[in-house]
């Protein structure tokens, strides 16, 4: 970047960090927009809007620190954890830190969009790992600049000063607050080489527990999700969606709807041909636009609307039968041989003991608390959207395509998001809002009802897993064969067929690396049901099947299932899994032993209750659950849940505990009761009465989370608590009831077999 002036020094630091003087003597470190520096925008304006600035951190003249959060917070705690990574590096006074959600920053670089903050996606538990180096770099640079400014002011070399809770402190005890130094610091040229971040022994915030930065706003009702945003003159839109994505309007009479006081217009929206799933309207819909939500809802109820059915007439029962037939057909060809170690068939032939089992898991919906919604203002000069999204860049692409506006003309704001779980990686609802705003030439606030949220989802496919394992004379598993059938979550998204398995199976999942002869085949099923990413995929369904089957092996050996697992894992060692990934068996053993000790596993046979255990690993993170259940008649009680996680360094142990406990309960809730069924390609669940997330009464009273201390770079954790929870529960149910649940949802199956 060539432009400089007295107030805005734009020197490259590792190619992206910039230092700027903000308004009223503020120091700003971050990533300014091209136009903010090159235009140039008068520096006096830079402090006015963080959205327009793209800063990671701003230190005001009064010492207040504002930190920009680049990834949406869907409840995974990014607002808190990402802020604390910078604040620690900066030695900020946490009580004087506030955060602001960074909207989407786009640079128009010769017509090409460039993402200013890096990849702004909340999903796959990746926010902390992705931001770890960037954020510490920004904090370290700000701290370095403040130290230089203080050195000049105090006449003491910078290396003899240190930073502490928002102050620079000299050896003689003199202190200068960051606010006093901000203006001078902003005028100092950054060093050519990156400022090294702190050594971990000097962390003051990282590793210490902190509550959610938005907690006060949330408990007072002041926090605004996208659905709480009201744009001036915006019409409220509610929709009636066609039950079939390939259906159409047969007949429509809008007269009674338009007669409702407050209803302004009725508009049809349609999917666009040839646009990948998730980037345009999902199903044809009729939108009722009104002055308020109540009028819109009444208007919708008064539509005289007949849908013409699509050609799709699939049922979930048929799908599951197809899946079962595939995994049982020895001649069926897999769509992907995901892993093939050794010679499974030869090893199985020689084996002393063989075992088979089949597991069936149902279709699932995302069921976010905040339904799909989007506020959109679109005109020829630009577009402003308020979107509850996990991936603002993807939302931006949808807006860009539908409006033809240039990157700099589109502003995407992302307030706190009412749950993601992968649903908001797709942006059909954004396309609807943009189309409607264009059609009525007014801002539009779109809201889906709960019914639409459940029936117009991108579902998780049902799965059927079939295992064959063979053991040698020393009771060791020598051969492992997994055949899994499902409909890929990645189909109809423009990806090549040879990548479709990646949403369904992890090539490195257990027991890969532990069994010499191991094969993992994925069988692809076509389905008209639309699918999409889900929380913890592909680990959740696979862990349930694998960790239940390991328990079955233990039972057939008349062995303690913990002992079977520990024998299978073997000694603590590093096992390369391919793709550069490694299984650290020592960390896996450790989490298993921690939960076993805590739940007093030694009583596993003596207790009248049932104890179950399971473990899993995901890309360098390790987790285990131990669960105690009891039966009173046919009523299942989850008495105790213990979970241990090893994510390397825990940035915010309190947030991590919340994530792990939350994911555990989410997994238990789904496993206990949830399934989506459909007939004629129409989903039969319309409200939470028939898609019953678990109530307080069904869930355990406590969830004990053990966090393994570690000094490796942190890994993601937002879904880590999911995979081993349901199999630990099913294994505990087997101990207490002798019912082996091989089909979810668990309660229904347990009651059927009791």
């Amino acid at each position: 970047m060539s432009h400089t002036n007295d107030n805005a020094i734009a020197l490259s630091r590792r190619g992206f960090l910039k230092v700027l003087a903000g308004a009223a003597g503020a120091l700003v470190v971050g990533i300014p927009f091209a136009q903010a520096v090159d235009a140039p925008v008068p520096p006096a304006l830079l402090g006015d809007t963080l959205y327009g600035l793209g800063a990671y951190v701003r230190i005001d003249a009064d010492g207040h620190v504002v930190i920009g959060i680049r990834d949406p917070d869907t409840g995974t705690g990014t607002s808190t954890s990402l802020a604390r990574i910078i604040a620690d590096e900066l030695d900020a006074d946490w009580t004087r830190v506030s955060t602001v959600s960074l909207g989407l920053g786009v640079e128009d670089d010769n017509g090409k969009p460039r993402w200013v903050y890096g990849h702004q996606t909340s999903g796959l538990g990746n926010s902390i790992p992705a931001a770890w180096a960037d954020l510490r770099g920004a904090g370290a640079l700000a701290r370095w600049l403040l130290l230089q400014a203080a050195a000049r002011r105090l006449g003491v070399p910078a290396d003899r000063l240190h930073c502490q809770e928002g102050n620079v402190v000299a050896p003689d005890g003199r202190r200068l607050g960051y606010g006093e130094l901000a203006e001078a610091a902003a005028k100092i040229a950054p060093p050519d080489a990156p400022v090294p971040p702190k050594t971990p022994d000097r962390y003051t915030l990282i590793g210490q527990p902190a509550g959610d930065v938005d907690a006060r706003a949330i408990v007072t009702g002041q926090a605004t999700h996208a659905l709480d945003t009201y744009m001036a003159d915006a019409l409220i839109a509610v929709l009636s969606h066609c039950p079939w994505p390939d259906g159409s309007v047969e007949s429509l009479d809008t007269s009674e709807a338009l007669a409702v006081k407050g209803v302004v217009k009725v508009v049809q929206v349609k999917p666009e041909a040839g646009v990948p799933l998730g980037q345009t309207v999902r199903s044809p819909a009729v939108a009722v636009l009104a002055e308020n939500t109540w009028a819109a809802l009444q208007g919708r109820a008064k539509l005289k609307l007949q849908w013409k059915a699509g050609a799709q007439n699939e049922s979930s029962a048929w799908f599951e039968q197809q899946a079962a037939d595939l995994v049982n057909d020895k001649n069926a060809q897999p769509a992907a041989r995901v892993r093939n170690d050794g010679d499974v068939d030869a090893a199985a032939k020689k084996a002393a003991h063989r075992l088979e089992a089949t597991y069936v898991q149902p279709w699932l919906a995302h069921a976010t608390a905040e339904p799909m919604n989007c506020v959109a203002k679109v005109d020829k000069d630009g577009a402003v959207l308020v979107v509850p999204t996990q991936a603002p860049q993807q939302a931006w692409k949808v807006v860009q395509r539908l409006t033809g506006l240039s990157p700099a003309q589109i502003e995407i704001r992302v307030p706190r998001v009412g749950g993601g779980y992968g649903r908001r990686l797709d942006h059909d609802y954004v396309a609807e809002a943009v189309m409607l705003a264009k059609a009525v030439e007014k801002p539009v606030k779109l809201m889906w009802t709960r019914d639409e949220d459940l029936t117009q989802d991108y579902y998780r496919s049902a799965t059927v897993h079939k295992f064959s394992a063979a053991l040698d004379g020393k009771r060791q598993i020598v051969s492992w064969n997994q055949r899994m059938a499902s409909a890929s979550a990645l189909a109809q998204r423009g990806l090549p067929d040879n990548q479709l398995w990646t949403s369904e199976v992890d090539a490195h999942q257990l027991p890969a690396g532990l069994v010499p002869h191991l094969r993992n085949d994925w069988y692809s099923l076509p389905s008209a049901m639309l699918r999409g990413p889900s929380r913890g995929m592909p680990h959740v369904s696979n862990a349930f099947a694998v960790e239940s089957f390991v328990d079955e092996i233990a039972h057939s050996l008349k062995e303690d299932p913990l002992v079977t697992r520990l024998r299978l894992i073997g000694e603590a060692r590093m096992i390369p899994l391919g793709d550069g990934r490694t299984l650290d068996t020592g960390r896996l053993i450790n989490v298993l032993k921690l939960v076993a000790d805590r739940i007093e596993w030694k009583n596993w046979l003596r207790t009248v209750n049932g104890l179950g255990i399971a473990c899993w690993h995901i890309d360098g993170a390790y987790v285990a659950h131990a669960i105690e259940t009891s039966l009173q008649g046919d009523r299942l009680n989850i008495e105790r849940v213990v979970c241990a996680v090893d994510v390397g360094r825990a940035v915010n142990p309190m947030g991590l505990e919340g994530q792990v406990a939350g994911a555990t309960l989410d997994a238990l809730s789904a496993a206990l009761n949830l399934s989506i069924s459909y007939k004629d390609s129409q989903v039969q669940q319309h409200s939470w009465k028939d898609y019953p997330l678990a109530s307080m009464a069904l869930l355990p009273d406590t969830t004990e989370v053990i966090i393994v201390p570690g000094d490796r770079d942190p890994t993601g954790a937002s879904f880590l608590g999911m995979p081993s929870a349901a199999p630990a529960l099913a294994n505990a149910v087997f101990r207490v009831s002798a019912v082996r649940v091989r089909r979810l949802p668990l309660l229904k199956e347990m009651l059927r077999m009791l």
């Binding site: 409840g75 006081k261 905040e370 709960r450």
Partner: protein, 176 residues
């Protein structure tokens, strides 16, 4: 309402007193403040709170109020804002999540307990949990686990065990 006309001063008896117009609408008291809703009196409280008053702490739950995000207190009793037409609330006292903290900003002990226990996931269902928990504590100052089990709220993020801790923290405080 029809009699209101009869009670008005007769026009023309004074040059300075202008006869007052009939005030149409429903009078409500929400979080200690008086409001008059002059629109459709069948509008559910939920949309009056959100669209008209911009008190957005009370959330949309679903067509049936399922999940309990829309819970408020009406004359101290737990109620679903989805199911209450404004017309039925004339003269009644409504408390929403915005009305829990003291006027000086000090959090209600239950709000503070939710903060201290980090009993929050995405935050969308939190106001509903607060209102239902407050109602529970009003009825059972020392609720048992079975009492807490009766809460009608749903949470996809899995904050239930932390909510339970927060409720017990307040109950313990009341006991001490």
């Amino acid at each position: 309402m029809a009699n209101a006309q009869d009670q008005m001063p007769t026009p023309g008896t004074s040059n300075t007193i202008v006869p007052e117009k009939v005030r149409e609408g429903v009078d409500l008291e929400i979080n200690g403040k008086s409001y008059r809703h002059s629109g459709d009196d069948q509008m559910p409280l939920l949309w009056y709170l959100r669209d008209v008053l911009r008190l957005t702490g009370t959330k949309y739950s679903g067509e049936h109020g399922e999940g309990g995000y829309d819970l408020v207190l009406v004359d101290g009793k737990l109620a679903s804002a989805t199911h209450l037409p404004v017309a039925k609330l004339a003269g009644k006292k409504v408390t929403t999540v915005e009305g829990l903290a003291a006027t000086d900003g000090k959090l209600h002990p239950l709000q503070q307990a939710f903060v201290d226990e980090d009993a929050i996931g995405c935050g969308y269902c939190t106001p509903g949990w607060l209102m239902a928990s407050l109602d529970l504590l009003n009825r059972h100052p020392q609720p048992s686990d079975n009492d807490i089990d009766q809460l009608p709220n749903l949470c996809r993020c899995g904050c239930q065990t932390r909510v339970r801790r927060a409720i017990k923290r307040v109950a313990k405080g009341a006991h001490a």
